[in-house]
């Protein structure tokens, strides 16, 4: 009898996987699944489920009490404000990557974006340019600052998407070009449909992507995933998908 109870306890202990819920900026759409798979392989019994969207959307949802454990923002402004307002675990705010911005143009336009750079957007054959909504998406804010940096007055051509992944989808399906994330345009579907030019880091507002644990959510499993993000293997994955990793970024970053 006692043995049966023990077996049952063990069974449920193993069968009931602990779940970690992550709210992630949508430029992590392709990199994070691989990171999660690597983490779950090392931590059987923990399940990580990620939702993707604009950082501004998650900021609102977290303030409304959405049940997330970790928040991966696309910059550091949302995490700073959330920390100030007491929604994050103290001192858990940390840099995990630097987001890189690209100008992406559909192949069918036959424009040499690698050579022309941001000026390609002035080309009359480009009628619509997809960007993320600068109201609440860091990549949208970066896109606007990029246009200002190069003095490109093309605001009427802009089409706004909820987040950077949706901007890519719009660029792919309907628009001619987009100011997008490197981590999104490296996706094979995007690679096949267009070419891109990598904007230098100083040409747009910096995307110091931070993540943090939400208030009173620091269970051992959440902590484990939090630490896993800082490991070399995770950084390699992030780098492979088009993120600049902090070690190389910090030296060149403004304070």
């Amino acid at each position: 009898m006692r043995f049966c109870v023990l077996v049952l306890c063990l069974f449920f202990g193993i069968a009931r996987a602990e779940e970690i819920r992550v709210a992630a900026a949508s430029d992590l759409q392709f990199a994070l699944p691989e990171i999660i798979a690597a983490f779950q392989a090392k931590n059987p019994g923990v399940r990580v489920s990620a939702s993707y969207g604009s950082s501004g959307r998650f900021d609102t949802q977290i303030r409304q009490g959405a049940p997330f454990d970790l928040f991966f923002s696309a910059d550091d402004s949302f995490t700073k404000k959330l920390e100030q307002d007491g929604f994050l675990e103290a001192n858990s705010r940390k840099l995990y990557a630097i987001g890189r911005v690209v100008v992406w143009v559909a192949n069918r336009l036959k424009l040499n974006v690698a050579q022309l750079g941001a000026k390609v957007l002035l080309d009359p054959s480009i009628a619509k340019i997809a960007i993320a909504n600068p109201e609440h998406a860091p990549y949208g804010m970066a896109a606007i600052s990029l246009l200002e940096f190069y003095g490109l007055q093309i605001v009427p051509k802009l089409v706004y998407a909820e987040n950077i992944a949706q901007a890519a989808q719009i660029a792919l399906a309907g628009a001619d070009a987009g100011i997008l994330a490197l981590s999104v345009v490296k996706n094979p579907t995007m690679q096949n449909a267009g070419t891109y030019w990598l904007a230098p880091l100083n040409s747009h507002t910096r995307l110091n992507q931070q993540y943090a644990i939400l208030k009173s959510r620091a269970t051992p499993a959440v902590r484990a995933f939090y630490v896993f993000i800082q490991t070399l293997s995770t950084r390699k994955i992030l780098n492979k998908y088009g993120f600049q990793i902090p070690a190389t970024a910090i030296s060149s970053s403004k304070p």
């Binding site: 939702s51 409304q64 009490g65 989808q169």
Partner: protein, 221 residues
């Protein structure tokens, strides 16, 4: 995908069940009641037809969120939960279901109800042997419409549920996620499932509606 599909069907089933239990008595009352409040109440119930679903969802989020009125007054915070999705779906589908229920109940000949009461039938007996046999096809068709409508709803569930993976993602918001991660072939698969399901449900509802029309024309009896 299975997760989102299961949640969608569970949501559609629960919301049509709630509508059936709540909506039929409400429709009955609306058909009978002649007071001044009726038109006002009917207008409120019909509002979701014209308001954008995002508006309904936004106010539900305010009401059911952490600092919402409900959480302050009765300690209920149902935003980002299945319960929140259910409330949103019920409110959003109420005009569709209620209109169908009302038509079904209005088609009842008052003489039959009077006959039943003259014969000494109890309320339960009147419903069991007079009202339901005649109104059932209309009621069922309204419920089916609400079911299909819940399956396809997007704005309300996105706002109130927040499209949280594994928690409040339903089939429509899952398709939204899939398009954003550029998984267009999966989009096609899920959309096909949704298309076929909706087709079958709507076809069944139309069939029932025709039967309801036959029921309401006494000379065919």
């Amino acid at each position: 995908m299975i997760d989102a599909l299961t949640r969608s069907f569970l949501l559609a089933f629960s919301s049509s069940l709630v509508l059936l239990l709540l909506g039929v008595p409400l429709a009955w009352w609306l058909v009978r009641y002649r007071g001044a409040w009726r038109r006002l109440l009917e207008t409120f119930i019909l509002l979701p037809l014209t308001l954008p679903p995002t508006v309904l969802g936004f106010y539900l989020l305010l009401a059911l969120g952490r600092d919402g009125w409900f959480s302050k007054v009765i300690g209920i915070s149902w935003a980002f939960r299945f319960e929140g999705l259910l409330i949103g779906s019920v409110l959003f589908c109420l005009p569709f279901a209620l209109t169908a229920y009302r038509e079904a109940l209005r088609a009842l000949d008052p003489d039959w109800l009077q006959a039943a009461s003259v014969e000494g039938a109890t309320t339960v007996q009147t419903w069991r042997y007079v009202i339901l046999p005649i109104a059932a096809p209309g009621i069922l068709s309204g419920t089916l419409l609400a079911f299909a409508h819940t399956l396809g709803e997007f704005g309300v569930v996105l706002m109130i549920g927040g499209n949280i993976t594994g928690q409040t993602t339903v089939i429509s918001t899952y398709i939204y996620d899939l398009t954003q991660s550029l998984q267009f072939s999966s989009v096609n698969t899920v959309a096909l499932i949704l298309f076929l399901t909706s087709f079958v449900i709507l076809y069944a509802a139309r069939t029932l509606e025709e039967r309801a029309r036959e029921n309401s024309t006494p000379w065919r009896k």
